[in-house]
Every structure is written in structure tokens, then in C-alpha cells.
Symmetry: C2
Subunit: 418 residues, 2 copies
């Protein structure tokens, strides 16, 4: 029989009562004859608490040590979940990333899965056991524990689903699914029934909570992903291609009628807490960008948007964004000798910006969407600081104070509440 | 250069401030040219907290899952300690029991170390790194995580010290060393400077806090063990044989003058919270004891003292003690059909007893010690419920309410305060 992989996030596991409840839900599915593999995140805020302890000891803690530290949170969840399942009379076993055979490269803190040796998992399944796998973690060739980056349990789940040839990967979380906008900002935001991998990738990168690599893996392996609420029996958001959607509907796995989204804008995403840094008048020659971003990446500062316009007189301006809390550290680094050597004229920076994006297949190539987006911001007296686009996304950097207003207006203009 | 293995217990690691302090102490030793391997327990009460969560889910949680769960606590400590050391500019690396090559049998919850493959540890030491090893844990031949039982980090430390041919194993704790009696009960209890392994074994089994198997290993490998305070610079208690003691004093490793204890009673130990169960008039034939204790051990109930006197008319009484909290569970088991089949006449039980023991090499074979002990209890109007002895220990079961009085009187009578 085919396998379902189910992933439960930290908010779904933040108490013993919730773990019990998930065990009961799992029992119901088992009683219905389903074959289930669980992937679990760390309980509630426990990863944050571990990180906080590490930060009290060092601001630049070694990532190899941090990975070993943080991997413990998921191990705790998986063992507790297995105990909860056994208490209900089910056969269960918890496995660490290492025991589950999740082989990664050695990029601590952002490791990528190279392969999954699923022999042990299959053995356990063949013994009739529900396998509960600690998400977010793997091991490298030297038996070092690695982690896949924050939110990495999503990626564990989709990778396992692909490896085990599951027919679906269900991602359980504290929300009903993916919304047309952040429901905390837009009251009439609507849950999206169906998304293509491409749209979800942009949504995942630009606000909605899914580990982006999990969506890439879903796309690569053609693995359908459902995002749904852990404790409400609602249909959630399904992410797959149209052929697979039809197939799942035909087999009765998806019961609600989903039609392809005709409105090309599928959602408005937003993100707060952004700072920008501009290096003015840098020489427009090869290798400059690398010189700037390599030391930033070595300091583990996450760069988000990068904008560089065409040059005048062989000079150009380079702007990029970081999280507010990384601004000071990033400024110290770009003022360092090695970067100063590239001879920029001066640096400006600012904090408390926000990003607003519209997402939808083909919108960048269809006339009118960008214009309508910019016009809406203009009419709402929202100043646009920066613009960047992809094939299926248009993003503006605006002042944080304008964000709520902007998201609501844009959500309305593109009729997303309907 | 020779290695020192240092073990820090949970109370020495119950805050980030204490972890920092231990890192600083370690740095001082490294600056003095010492080569150090650290073994750490879980922070403060974290193992208890994990166990509490598991108990909320199941009263009979699977020991394989419990071991995986509990192993996470030591991993957290080791990673944090390594980060703290690195922050001081030292080279350090934390290793799990698996990474440290601590190979055990498969008795989850009470696993025994079979061998240590110390290749990885030596590699790290050769790179100039301080190796910080998660105590209490190992792995079996199927790559399952095992634990050595509560307090097992002591055993990890002594086993590693033996494997690495360290010249000493230092066990740091929240007390100054081993005392002639529990200082909470006896105000003028004295710290013991020197103990033989044999005496310490009895002390460790009968009250003083050390994992008994760590002492057995020390004896087997002739590894000197010092128990001392983490944060006070005091000499502690050294456990080794006399030849080694002379050797360590000659080499200046132990500076204070220690003479062999002439008083044959080295300490009075005590333990509260004890219940007893008696099966009356059981048939005195082979196999009966096994029939009683096997189901109790399978239920993971720790049996402490067992007493069975000579029989009359081929019948005898069998008494054993358990912890107060295990009494109800134990009674259910001995009333089960399989045990009932042995045809005991009836069962009696009682709770809230305490154990008091005197410890000292040869006291059991030297006339006078036992008599003096019993006489002291009698004169103090303390009733003796049961007596058991070993070569170097005499133990009485008494009422818990009499314990403080009894321990103080006995401590005085044997001149232990001098």
C-alpha cells in the first residue's frame, strides 16, 4: 500500500496535550488502513530557546556546534510522539535524521540532502511500525550532525515522501493553508485551494511559511503537498501540477472541487523588518558583487533582495536588503578593508522597511499587472523605494508603516477576497 | 602528554553563567599546559523534565524511546560547553556518545559499555581540540542510542579515562567530596580525603552520589578518581589504591598529605523513601526467587535489599525493599497470577522506612563493629526492621522518622567527626 508522509510543525507540538491529540488522529488514520510516516519539528519555541542559550555564550557560535545543539529539539519531539503512539497500542519507533539515513552535504546550518538511505525506514514499516522521524536534521560523511536551516522539517518531509514513493506529503501547521494575504493584515484574505509549485515557491520565498527547498523538491519529484491545519478538519491548500490534481481528484484523495485559478494574481505577500544598504558609485566591472557578498555570506548574514541598475560612466549603485537585526553587523562588514578596496563613493542605509509582492504565474509578462500594482501604491500615497521582479512575482520595498494599508489596497484591487 | 578527563554533573551546568565559568576554569588549565577531555551531564533538572513529559504520555514508556529522548539533554550541554570554550579562543568540539565511539550493549536504560572506539577522540585531541563528550549515552550495534542509567555520566568519564590512558579522572559536583555522613543530617560530618574503591563502592551503592559502575570501572582499570567541588578550589576525595595514591603524591598531582584511614569505619550512609514487601511462608525450593523477581525487573522496578532467612518446615519468608513510589506497582505484580502460583501464605508491606549503613574495609569480619552499631540503635530506641551485610558494610532498615537521630548517634559513636 502507498505511504502518506505527514509533517507536524512546532506550533502543532507545543504541549503534551497536542502530541496526544496528533497521536489520536494518527490512530484514526491507521484504523482506516493508512500507512503513515511522521516527520516532526521541535516542540513550540524550543529551537529558539536553544539558540538563545547559544547566543548568551557567543555571538558567532560555530555552526557545527549549533547544528548539533539544535538537532536535539526534533529528537525530543520524535521520541515523545512515538511514546504517545505506543500508549494508544500502536507500533511506533522514532528515528533521528542519522538513523533515518538522511545524508546531507557539510554546509552546517543550511545543509542540503544528498540522498536518503531508506533501508531502515522500510524495515520498520515492514514490521508494521509507524516511523516518527526527527525533521530538520541529517548527517554528513564524517557522521557530523547537520541541519537543513530553519523550517527545514518541511524539506525532510517532502524528501522522504519522494524517497518512499508516498502518494502525498501532508504538512500540518497552525493555519488553514496558504492565504491570498497575511490574515493578520487583511481581514478578508482567502484560503487558496490550489497552487502550482511555481506560485508556491514565490509565496514561500516571499512571506508564506514553507521551507522553499521543500517546494523545489516537490516540483522536482512531482510530489503533491497539502498544507493544512493540525486540529481543524479542513481541506487546506494543495500544491501540485494540474495532471496530478486531476489524478488525486479522480482517486477520491482530494474530495473538494478545485478549479484552476483563473485570476492570475494568486496572492499578496508581505514581510516586515527589513533594512537596506546601498554602496554608491561602485565600479561596474566583473567580480565586484562577489567581493561584496562573499564576506557577508561568511558572516551568515542573509541577503534578501539585491538590486543593481545599469551604470553611468562605468559606475553603478548596488543596493541589498537584510533583516533589521543584521543591519549593524552588515554595515561593519561592508566598511571593512576588503570591501572598501572596491572603491565605492559612500554608503547609505536605512531600516524599518517592508516588502509587498504580488504573485501569479505569468503576471510579469502580462501587461497591466505591474502598472495596476504600482498605481494602487501611488494612489494610497505609498512611496516605492525599490522594485524587483521574477517571472511570477513583482516586489516593492516600501516603508513599514505603510504596509498594512498597502497590502489591503492591493488585495482588494486584484479581487483576491472573492 | 597525559590526559585528564573531567566530568561535570548537572548541578554544575544548570545555568549559562556556570557553563561560562567552567569554560574559564578549563582555559586556565589549558594555559597551564594540561590536556583535557570533558564529559558533561544534562543541564540541571533537564533530564527530569524530559522524563516528566514522557510520563505524562505513558506510565510504561518504551525504554528504547526513553533513551533516545533523554540522550538529548547531554548533547545540549556538550554543544553549549564547546561554544563557550570556543568563545574564549580555545579549540573545542562536542561529540555525542555515538560520535565518541561509546559502544554499549542493548539494555536500554541501563546499558553497559562494551568498548570505546576512541579514534575520533584521538584525532580531535591531535588537532589540539578540547573534546567535550555528551555523558550518559552510547549506541548499540544497530545504531540505536542507549543510556547507561541515571548518573551514568560518571561511568562515561571513568571508562573514557581508562580508554584514553588518562592519569586521572576528575568528577566535579556540587559538594566538596564524599562525607562521613550526609551533611544535611549530620552537622559535623567530615569530608573524607581518601577512599579505597571497595569502600567507595559501598558508599556509592548506599547513599553517596556516584554511579556505582564508574567505581567498578575505576577499580578494574586502576584509574584514580577525584570527586570535588566545581566552583570551590578544594582538594576533594580521592579514590584509588594505596600504591597509586603514593605515586600521585610523589609526582605532585596530589599535594595534601593523605594517610591511610586507621579508623575502620569510613562513613555512615543513609537513604530514605523505602518500602518493604514480605511474601510469607513461601516454599523453600530452587527457582522461587527468580519467579518473584523476574516480573518485577521486567516492570523496571528497582529492587534494593533482599532478605531471606533460613527455612522452617521447608517454608521461609522473603522480604525485599523498593522505593516508596514503586510500592503500589510492585504489590500489583506480586499479587499477579504467575507469582501467586508459588503459593505464599500472605503478603505484608509497609512504607516510609530508611536505610542506615556503616561502611569500612573489613568491618564485617572484625568483632565489635556490628555489635556497637546495633547497640547504638538500641540505646537510641531505634527499632531494627531488617539487617543485611556485605564484607565491608552493615545495613539496618529502620523507621524513616528515626533516621536523623540514628545517623547522628552512629556517626558520633564511631568517632567520624574527628
Amino acid at each position: 500500500m502507498e505511504i502518506i508522509v505527514r509533517k507536524y510543525g512546532g506550533t502543532s507540538l507545543d504541549s503534551i496535550a497536542k502530541i496526544k491529540k496528533i497521536a489520536e488522529t494518527t490512530k484514526k488514520s491507521i484504523d482506516q488502513g493508512k500507512k503513515i510516516v511522521l516527520v516532526v519539528s521541535a516542540m513550540g519555541k524550543s529551537t529558539d530557546e536553544l539558540l538563545k542559550k547559544a547566543k548568551m555564550l557567543s555571538k558567532h557560535a560555530n555552526t557545527r556546534e549549533l547544528d548539533l545543539l539544535m538537532s536535539s529539539g526534533e529528537i525530543v519531539s520524535s521520541a515523545l510522539m512515538s511514546i504517545a503512539l505506543q500508549e494508544l497500542g500502536l507500533k511506533a519507533i522514532s528515528l533521528t535524521g542519522f538513523q533515518a539515513g538522511i545524508d546531507t552535504n557539510s554546509t552546517f546550518g543550511e545543509a542540503q540532502i544528498i540522498s536518503i538511505d531508506n533501508k531502515r525506514i522500510h524495515n520498520e514499516i515492514n514490521k508494521g511500525r509507524i516511523v516518527v522521524i526527527a525533521g530538520f536534521q541529517g548527517y554528513n560523511e564524517n557522521f557530523e550532525i547537520t541541519t537543513l536551516g530553519r523550517g527545514g522539517s518541511d524539506t525532510t518531509a517532502v524528501a522522504l515522501a519522494a524517497s518512499l514513493k508516498a502518494y502525498i506529503c501532508e504538512v500540518y501547521t497552525d493555519v488553514e493553508g496558504i492565504f491570498t494575504a497575511d490574515p493578520r493584515i487583511v481581514k478578508n484574505a482567502k484560503k487558496i485551494d490550489y497552487l502550482s509549485y511555481e506560485d508556491m515557491l514565490e509565496l514561500a520565498n516571499y512571506g508564506a511559511k514553507m521551507h522553499p527547498r521543500s517546494i523545489e523538491l516537490g516540483l522536482h519529484y512531482n510530489m503533491p503537498i497539502i498544507i493544512k491545519s493540525s486540529f481543524e478538519n479542513k481541506t487546506g491548500t494543495i500544491i501540485c501540477n494540474i495532471e496530478k490534481l486531476n489524478d488525486l481528484q479522480k482517486r477520491g484523495i482530494i474530495l473538494n472541487k478545485i478549479t484552476e485559478n483563473r485570476n492570475k494574481v494568486t496572492g499578496v505577500t508581505s514581510e516586515r523588518n527589513i533594512s537596506k544598504i546601498t554602496l554608491h558609485s561602485i565600479p561596474d566591472k566583473p567580480g565586484i558583487a562577489a567581493k561584496v557578498f562573499k564576506p557577508l555570506s561568511e558572516a551568515r548574514i542573509n541577503i534578501d533582495v539585491i538590486v543593481q541598475n545599469i551604470s553611468r560612466n562605468h559606475k553603478t549603485d548596488l543596493t541589498f536588503t537584510v533583516k533589521n537585526e543584521d543591519l549593524d553587523h552588515a554595515l561593519i562588514i561592508v566598511q571593512n578593508k576588503s570591501i572598501k578596496n572596491i572603491n565605492y563613493e559612500n554608503i547609505t542605509s536605512g531600516s524599518n522597511y517592508a516588502k509587498i509582492s504580488i504573485i501569479g504565474s505569468g503576471i510579469q509578462n502580462t501587461p497591466g499587472y505591474a502598472a495596476k500594482f504600482f498605481e494602487t501604491l501611488f494612489k494610497s500615497k505609498v512611496n516605492i523605494e525599490m522594485i524587483t521582479t521574477s517571472d511570477i512575482r513583482i516586489t516593492c520595498l516600501i516603508n513599514d508603516t505603510d504596509l498594512d494599508k498597502a497590502v489591503n489596497k492591493v488585495h482588494n484591487v486584484f479581487d483576491l477576497f472573492k
